[in-house]
Symmetry: C2
Amino acid sequence: MPDPMPPHLSPEEIRDALHRTADLVADYLTGSERYPVLPAVEPGEIWSSFADEAPEEPVPMDHLLDVYRERIEPAVTQWNHPGFMAYFAITATAPTVAGEALSAALNVNSMLWRTGPAPTEMEYKMCDWLRRLWGLPEDFVGHLVDTASTATLVALAAARHRHDPEVRRRGSAGRPPLVLYASEQTHSSVDKAAVVLGVGLDQVRRLPVDERFRLRPDALAAAVAEDRAAGLAPFAVVATAGSTSTTAVDPLPEIADLCAEHGLWLHVDAAYAGNAAVCPELRAHLTGWERADSIVVNPYKWSFLGFDGSVLLVRDVDELRHAFSVVPEYLKTSFLKHGGGEAGDLPHLMDLGFQLGRRFRALKLWMGLSAMGAGALRSGIRRHVRLAAELARRVDEDPRFERMAPAPFGTVCLRGVWDGPSEEETDTRNERLMERVNDAGPVLLSHTRLGPRFVIRVVFGHGRTGEEELETVWRLLAGAHDALSPGSPST
Amino acid sequence: MPDPMPPHLSPEEIRDALHRTADLVADYLTGSERYPVLPAVEPGEIWSSFADEAPEEPVPMDHLLDVYRERIEPAVTQWNHPGFMAYFAITATAPTVAGEALSAALNVNSMLWRTGPAPTEMEYKMCDWLRRLWGLPEDFVGHLVDTASTATLVALAAARHRHDPEVRRRGSAGRPPLVLYASEQTHSSVDKAAVVLGVGLDQVRRLPVDERFRLRPDALAAAVAEDRAAGLAPFAVVATAGSTSTTAVDPLPEIADLCAEHGLWLHVDAAYAGNAAVCPELRAHLTGWERADSIVVNPYKWSFLGFDGSVLLVRDVDELRHAFSVVPEYLKTSFLKHGGGEAGDLPHLMDLGFQLGRRFRALKLWMGLSAMGAGALRSGIRRHVRLAAELARRVDEDPRFERMAPAPFGTVCLRGVWDGPSEEETDTRNERLMERVNDAGPVLLSHTRLGPRFVIRVVFGHGRTGEEELETVWRLLAGAHDALSPGSPST
């Protein structure tokens, strides 16, 4: 070959580099515990470890993989680690990594059916597999976007379009001010969506919650009435099923009633807890979500299916198409009927949102879900629920700790308590407690604020997190509490 | 292990599956030519080849990889194929696939520095490597988003925020109508951004172009004056460097002058042609882009760096932070000074847009760019420019074809001509000509409309596309023309 492709690797070099990569991946997936979850790296250390300029000459892959193993892998916060109990834990498995590697090799952009027949049809199919596993009605059609933030933005844009189709052409200026409802516990992605859409943060009603951190329907009803009386235009409610702080589920049936009464779009952010619906005994927590106009679930979050890829389910997929499609009608050759039969045609993926380019994420969903099987998915989720229940029990029974919220899923909110200090001092001491636990290495916890209170979150969600990690985190929590107690030499 | 992780694979099974995947990837990267670029698959065929429900029991990885190889891989439009000359051709190489596989295994979300130190710092560093390769000033700070559509949306949201910071809180309702300028050749992502932002399609001024398909600055000046006189609020111009239809570059210096004069944000969509700036002799095409407020370049598009990942460069990164950050000030612990010294701190990635979750895309950029070296990147781009020039020469010299636009980069716009038929009949015949070429298998072309005319686009952009593919596409074009000419048995 006189003029080979960049990067000028021979077929043998390509194969060798990929096999060495396979070993690095296998080493990591079977042994990420060798790292502390939080890396010992200083800000700027990685930045300055790289030259200022890209190399002019090719660098051998062996050298790059050495640098990866020695310098980069240890400087990553180890999300794919059984001790990762921060935020919502996420898991990649060998089948999902295989799916992503093959997808990266195909390098396909499935914007149109024609530019990616298998990717397009598998995306709809895998979302339908998940819809069935979650027990949702067949009129919901799902597709994939990168993250829940994008899904919520897309859903709220569709909500606005249904409420006031004129905005698409005329813009928001001169239209009645739109108002959006959520609770004070709703994820910040709703604020960002309001910023991007031009709804404005002042028009996001952050409604109060009850003692279990659930949106209060009476407050919603009152706010809608007040806004209508003031001449404003309520258009959507974002209800949460599994809030970020406490995994609270808003009262979906009551909210759905109010949305029906007032003609509001109901978007359910089930990014975390929607995954639990695969277990029939947990589905009761989600009752009412089947009445939503749109739902987002992140299967990467608690279905062991690898980051990224959020499922955005909509009751009427044409509402997305009408909101977003900017191509002439003749290009909209729909390519297949929805499996449900009467739900209409499935549009090209590019017509369902603002992103033209789309990776082939369905491949890893198919590989991950099939290699696992629905049975193992259920057993994994049940294991985490069991671990959380056990930690909650210990916290409830131990006077050194108090539990700060119900724990219906895999997440426990707790804090240390001591005799004597004020609430403010207790907050500070809990910050130090969490730091001590995290500095130990084997686990990583995160915190939230409930009101002004500093609260520690423990999330059982990684696929390899089991009894051993429960014992570890409990030992570290108890030890850190004791070390911070009066009389302890290290207080 | 009493309770192993889903999907219940042993360490040996994990390693075996990943090595078999490595072989599949290597086979594909070194031999995607075994497939026709456009797959022979009917709508619905893949959808119905899958069961309606996810399997309950685990499916062995060997079986899944067999299905992948036999059923899925052949049903993908082969973007990663040297005969892919449609849209803008894109390339994944073994190093970029290795980077994506490792990134999938780490499964990290670098929303904050702390949740991904190496991913965060490498993302800024790799964007800085590219900025330097492209010869842009050091006050530009780049980060990665999924696609150019997202980059343009984010940039225009920041533009709006600079123009009218009140919108963030108060929303667009009641504010003066914003107006956005682009040419009739600008990518549809600007329309989608206008829809999402609530600017409205009627406020996107699609300005006329000159005979070389470049935005006419006189039309821009007139439109801005007219809109101001009408009480509207011009806020941004999207200029294109390498338009989708013809790779035209708008007159950036004149547009930058007008933006400076009128206080408009200049966003340059250099998704395609920005990549050419790595070659000093091609940089003159882009003169003026260094005066932009924001620039998007897709290194996956023409730098052989794997889909997805767009570089959004902004002159003042704090303008993104101010537009998007919704976290309290105390969380904004900036973690390092920008390499440029005086450009200020680098923010957490989550503060630069609306997407909270972020894959570790910088890993594949680093691996792909380093394994290739800047020299090979330049030689790859130069090869494509040479191939396009040669095809353009043949078209110009052959009475069977006419060229429809300048070809400064790797893309040639052409159509067949025949004695006799009307322009409309010529359009139809060109559609048939393109279908014939595409049906042959070894190449895939796409088309555009210039005015009403049907125009065929030939893009030399895949890393393995060389002289052989030029000869193939020329032979197929000429053969299809002859077959469609009067007197041919197949006319």
